[in-house]
């Protein structure tokens, strides 16, 4: 007589077996505790290489995405500008080169991480460290690539009309590139923190 006609499947099931909300809550926390202890019971180190390799992958993939965006966006600007001022094209290649360097940063970090992953004795701590290293370098490279792309597009077009802007725009590129460099430095530090850790006997 007091049945709800609406609600989620869980609440309908609980209502069907005559369970109250306090009992439902206690059951939920019991399941969570079981999962946690279950995870501890299994060897976390068997899962660790997953995180390590994900770190290596994300370092390369996100940096390359940033490099691709930077190259594409500024390439469009160079192509538009080069029609009327072909002599400036070589000077305007700078944003493309700087975007390419971001891919190299990702490559360096991915190689450092992947050479430190061993099939035996690779702890979860090391896995987390390598994951964070890869994400730090990769996402910084993505951000720097977007900055170089957008400012590169506008910058090469503006440089074609006003050559005095070249130095200022170059400074903007350098500051954008610095973001990816910070990511690479922190990534290397984190990877070395992961590699230096030895499992306590």
């Amino acid at each position: 007589a007091g049945r709800h006609t609406e609600g989620t499947r869980v609440s309908r099931t609980c209502t069907g077996i005559g369970m109250q909300s306090s009992t439902r809550l206690a059951l939920f926390w019991a399941v969570v505790a079981l999962c946690a202890t279950g995870a501890q019971a299994a060897d976390g180190d068997q899962v660790a290489p997953f995180f390590g390799f994900m770190g290596a992958m994300s370092a390369l993939v996100f940096s390359c995405m940033g490099a691709a965006y930077g190259t594409a966006k500024s390439g469009v600007g160079i192509a538009s500008m080069g029609v009327m001022r072909p002599e400036l094209v070589m000077k305007s290649i700078v944003p493309v080169v700087m975007a390419g360097v971001l891919g190299i940063y990702g490559l360096i970090n991915a190689v450092i991480i992947s050479t430190n992953i061993h099939p035996e004795g690779y702890t979860l701590f090391q896995g987390y460290a390598h994951l964070s290293s890869g994400l730090a370098c990769g996402l910084s490279g993505l951000a720097a690539g977007m900055a170089i792309g957008i400012t590169g597009d506008a910058g090469v077009r503006a440089n074609a009309q006003q050559p005095k802007l070249f130095t200022g725009i170059l400074l903007i590129f350098i500051f954008s590139e610095a973001l990816a460099l910070y990511g690479l430095i922190v990534g290397i530090i984190l990877a070395s923190a992961g590699s230096a850790a030895v499992k306590p006997e």
Binding site: K73, S80, I150, D153, A154, R157, A158
Partner: protein
């Protein structure tokens, strides 16, 4: 308690629109995304705005004695590149033609660098001039004018390839089938296509029907863009529709245009719709039109209060001033396309001002030179 509850029940769109009545409010994520494609173009346009003629320039120009003085003062503005090599003796029409050429060059530069959807928006700005050019050539060829002379009078922004073949058509259907079907004006022509002959009256009706369809299409496009662009362009285009309704009424007061035809030419939006349109259709002289403007809430009643009785001389000037105020207000908001519309209108107004000054100087009636000037830009508000 009733106030906030009411706002919650509105859709997020309406709530935002009500809250963002002032300038400088963020509409969405355009602060992150606008500069990725359109930042450079906005930069160019704001640079062009700072290059408009200033109060000091106008003060110098209104004190000129001859056209050579006008040329000298224009050489200290952004027009120097087009005007400095003009040989004496000067004529007002050459000065104006050179300045218009500069405006067109700057517009073409912004148009070249634009990506979608800005490119479509900038194309929309040229369709009005295209309609004017089509009407100019058709009326000119009705009066057996020389084609080259007519082409010289056309506005450069509204040129298209097959414009010279407009003289061949003898009625509306041929006009559409031979020439206009390949132009961007083709979709606006569906209401006009008939086998009627091209005489003065029908050509004017054709102009207004095309312009009505163009304004409706432009408004629909701006609404699809959303954000600050839609908000600003809606205000501007609604005012444009009202202005055209009033001009159509005044121009058709003593002609054979029937009431139904007049009603057909009014747009489907604006402050005058729907009751103002019904009143305008019934108008017989200028005082009745002025009374209709008085009754309309908003900017039209303000304009009506400034007009003197029974004189429509200054009405056009007041409309231009109101348009310039809206254009200056568009520059107060960032990350929108209305500034591209605004800069074109401001520069056209500047050309009209320069034309007025040049004509006053050439015809030696310098006492009237400040009468016809409309202030352009924020500093003169």
């Amino acid at each position: 308690e009733g106030g906030p509850r009411l706002a919650l029940r509105l859709s997020p769109e309406k709530g935002r629109a009500m809250a963002a009545a002032d300038a400088g409010v963020a509409w969405g994520m355009e602060g992150l995304l606008f500069n990725a494609k359109d930042g450079y173009n906005e930069g160019i346009v704001r640079g062009l705005k700072s290059g408009l003629l200033s109060t000091q320039d106008y003060a110098n120009l209104t004190q000129c004695e001859t056209l050579d003085d006008v040329k000298l003062h224009l050489c200290s503005t952004d027009y120097v590149s087009v005007i400095q090599n003009e040989p004496s003796p000067l004529h007002p029409s050459t000065i104006v033609a050179r300045c218009t050429q500069k405006v067109v060059e700057d517009f073409e530069m912004v148009r070249c660098q634009a990506s979608e959807p800005l490119a479509t928006f900038l194309d929309f700005l040229t369709y009005g001039h295209m309609i004017d050019n089509v009407v100019l050539i058709v009326t000119g060829s009705l009066h057996e004018r020389d084609m080259q002379e007519l082409l010289d009078k056309c506005h450069p922004l509204g040129m298209f390839d097959s414009i010279a073949t407009l003289a061949v058509a003898s009625n509306m259907r041929e006009l559409y089938r031979l020439v206009l079907v390949d132009t961007p004006l083709a979709p606006y022509f569906s209401e006009c296509v008939s086998s009627e002959d091209l005489d003065e009256m029908n050509v004017e009706i054709m102009r207004n029907v095309l312009y009505k369809a163009y304004l409706a299409d432009f408004l629909r496009f701006c609404e699809s863009l959303g954000g600050a662009t839609a908000h600003l362009m809606r205000q501007i285009l609604h005012f444009e529709a009202d202005r055209r309704a009033i001009n159509i009424t005044i121009n058709s007061l003593d002609t054979e245009l029937s009431r139904d035809d007049r009603r057909r030419l009014f747009s489907d939006f604006g402050a005058l719709k729907p009751s103002g349109h019904l009143d305008l259709v019934a108008c017989d002289d200028f005082d009745q039109v002025r009374a209709v403007m008085d009754n309309t809430p908003g900017v039209l009643s303000v304009i009506a209060s400034r007009l003197s009785i029974s004189s429509d001389q200054l009405l056009e000037k007041h409309f231009y001033q109101e348009e310039q105020k809206m254009c200056a207000a568009a520059f107060l908001e960032q990350f929108n396309y209305a500034i591209f519309y605004a800069i074109l209108k401001m520069r056209e107004q500047e050309i009209r001002n320069v034309t007025w000054i040049a004509e006053c100087v050439a015809q030696d009636c310098r006492n009237r030179v400040t009468d016809g000037l409309v202030s352009v830009g924020l500093e003169n508000l």
